[in-house]
Symmetry: D2
Subunit: 296 residues, 4 copies
């Protein structure tokens, strides 16, 4: 079932340093945990226009959570530590504290920097908060209308990697789309990585800046636009390509970005009528990491 005609471009994705928090949201049922995790990581596709890049990492089964309930791990990224702290306060305070039956735990055991998110949120209890220690950690209990909301006191902030990416070029737009979905699903199964765009997929990959408008930080990547193929001189699209999707992923470290890249390529290879896989970079001048598509 392998599409053996796919061309893997001998290039690299250029990825960047960022800061990340890794949290676990549990609830009475998997669905309730998913609802909270989805809301908390919404409107978080790109640093360009969102306050954070965020997404659901993994489903964590009851036997692996501190309270024996099902949960989802999420990753929230921001380039500045203080901005990340603010995003955590708002996203957990507005989207998880408010969600039915939830509790929140830290998943970064060791980190240079920590934020006392649980302590800060505990003031919501207006004096009725209590704290307790268990397994060398401190937790806050916040009485709410539905019962008690539990949150760990401290959450680690770690160095992470943003901007892993692949370009999927196919004979039709819909084929590129299903291949992108397959790639996102392959990445979804890896712990420590998220695909922050809608459904994990970018329909409108961009270049840095603009050729025409000085006020634009990012504009369409016209060299990869199928409907401009015959209109511009420097199209990068092969003759038989009529649809291109990009996938973008952020991870807790460079190894995971590499693993995600390879697993995504393997998944894309299962889809017939994909023509080529490439990636976006800026000549290596902007980002710290070069993620090769072809393993060296």
């Amino acid at each position: 079932m392998e599409n053996k005609e796919i061309i893997i471009d001998d290039t690299y994705a250029e990825a960047f340093k960022t800061k990340a928090a890794h949290l676990l949201i549990t609830a009475t049922t998997k669905q309730l945990a998913h609802i909270a995790a989805t809301e908390a990581t919404g409107f978080a596709t790109s640093f360009i226009g969102c306050g954070a890049e965020a997404g659901i990492d993994q489903y964590i089964p009851p036997e692996k959570t501190p309270d024996n309930r099902p949960g989802y791990s999420i990753i929230i990224c921001q380039n500045k530590t203080e901005d990340l702290e603010e995003q955590l306060l708002e996203r957990i305070g507005q989207c998880v504290l408010t969600a039915p039956t939830t509790a929140v735990y830290n998943l970064i055991e060791e980190s240079d920097k920590q934020t006392n998110l649980g302590f800060k949120l505990s003031f919501f209890a207006d004096g009725y908060q209590t704290s307790y220690d268990e397994n060398d950690k401190t937790y806050y209990k916040i009485p709410v209308m539905s019962g008690d909301f539990i949150i760990e006191e401290n959450f680690g902030i770690t160095n992470a990697v943003a901007g892993g990416n692949l370009f999927i070029m196919a004979k039709t737009q819909q084929t590129a789309l299903l291949a992108a979905q397959a790639a996102v699903e392959a990445i979804a199964n890896i712990s420590g990585v998220i695909t922050p765009f809608p459904g994990g997929i970018v329909a409108s990959g961009s270049k840095v800046g603009s050729k025409k408008y000085k006020f634009m930080n990012a504009t369409t990547n016209e060299q990869f636009c199928p409907t401009l193929k015959d209109e511009i001189d420097d199209s990068q699209l092969p003759e038989d390509v009529n649809g291109v999707y990009e996938i973008v992923f952020d991870a807790l470290n460079e190894d995971i970005i590499n693993e995600a890249t390879q697993k995504a390529i393997d998944a894309i290879k299962t889809v017939p009528d994909v023509v080529k896989i490439s990636a976006g970079n800026y000549g290596g001048n902007l980002g710290k990491y070069k993620i090769n598509l072809i393993k060296q």
Copy 2:
């Protein structure tokens, strides 16, 4: 199947004036439209800590959309027009323009105020955008990697109503939760109203300000917290109530808030072991609208 023992409190929900946009997101499939709509309305539960209150309004079948594709209508609210314009630019630009196969249309035909969201987003095309007129409206075509993104030029901004609400008190937390889900589903079927909290439900209803911490704008509503029932003197919870959930809804006008209130009450009445339905208000001094639970 009606729970005839429910007490409907003879009180009112206090609701507020706000501004709203009403947009339609279409895509090749219902699922793709849903993914974009979910991302665009994420992290948008409450003005207290989010940039907007937003949610999915209705599924719009292919035959009722301008491009004959399935879609979802969404509502995005903000109290200030200029903040709403910024939220629209960021949420549609980051979460819908980037989503596979989408297009975006205005659903507010008549309004005092309009924002030229489509015009602004068209600069992303870096000079390759084109516009065309159809049915007396102007649309922009933005070439992207997956094909062309279509967006209407102008979007209406209308006066709307935020903060419709109900308190659901039940013998157990889980019963209150399922009754809240039933209420949210009843509201979901009404056009022009959203339930912006996670899954439409608020687990941690709040009071304005704080008794103890001056820096807090909102804190837990301790009078309705089951775990504080025996600890405080002024609990508002009946003896047999051990779980309380609030639902909150924003709508395009007061009539819809009233309709949503009644439909939600009807739905809650179908759930056994719910004890009482009430609502949150501030003595009528803060909000413009008083939404009675019992029809006058």
Copy 3:
């Protein structure tokens, strides 16, 4: 967004007479009703190897159901009335009576033939069943471990139409697939029609009988198989077609089959890179109905 290059074959789908029941399953929440409806209509794609053709028809909001709870209407088809009665007894008895919080109502008000499904199922109560009349109908209350299961006494059996169909031919398999999904979604919005195959789509459309094996009632439709295009002499596939999906639909009457056909064609037209739409027939000798693709 219309694909103007699609060829609509000037042919017809050949459809058949069948018998159908139309039932409403309600529950405390939409999700619970959906779970029961899905189980009850599973393993029901084709009369060739399943006991019935069945599927979910519509979501019915709380305000339109007898018990003010959300529900799903389903359609179950069989060619013989007595076989349909048996399927109803087993599918409702095993998959809905057993499902959390459900109730079941008849949706066919007038019919020559009725089956007393509720009466038969009431024996499960082992003498503890009770019946009551409301709005000129009789209902049974069956005590179960979770509470009481309610079911109407009589259910209508009506003449219906099975085997509406379309062939979707596209440049790639994945494009045909997404076009088929769009077609299924367009049909999903029409009341009184189901698409009984998995996800509403047939990946392996068949011809009647076999050229080679006498014991086979149905075999692959090789004239429409892309991977046999160069191997056989009588392929019906255009040069640039590499993927074909069929959609099949059953409806309560011929008008609905016609409406579904047109709505599905409209939906398919929105997908780029679809090449041709056709339909399956047997020269008009087997089925009672000829459903034209191009309106006469």
Copy 4:
């Protein structure tokens, strides 16, 4: 978050010998594999009225499947080998061969008995089927309208265990329901076990035979019906129990049934207002296995 007041009945669930097949369904995307797996395991809650007991076992990520695509493992049970073979032929032939982009693999490596399901289904290709060997296994390639359908030749049939069960008794019906959902989710994470009822839950647990009707094989378990508590003399329900749900599970062996039982109990313990956990047995005379609730 543990409900420490739950009473665990010192009893056992009585489980039975059965036969099972364990199959893997893969597809281009997780969702497409899920659609096929759901249809193939529908209408399969109980041997009493369904042709099989069946359900989805696990999501299998691309890196663990033979074709590097996402998949779902399913289990199909029947008491007689020949009936199981017929169910496999019909369910895979009607619900998976017909589903978009699917392939089917055997997951039982060693077994006394095998069925050549792939060989039998290959006749659908009407002479155009081909077979090939890979890793010491034989596969069939069946040309269909969407491309090629791949299926392994031989599938193992193994001895298995049916009828693991728990009774969940709670203060309200809705609390018992959410606890049952939590139990089903805990079991879902264990490989080799399914919960065949709708959503994994039984709302209408039964006793063998009938006190009143000789023609009934199974009738309501009135001793556990909340609405009959005051009407019968031998109710087994504690005073404060108003809702009871049963969960039922089938597994590939007795160890897995025991593990599922313990994991389910752990999950139920996280839900407040559950009163008691028990199980169904017939005095140990009918089934081969006694599954103790309290580990010996």
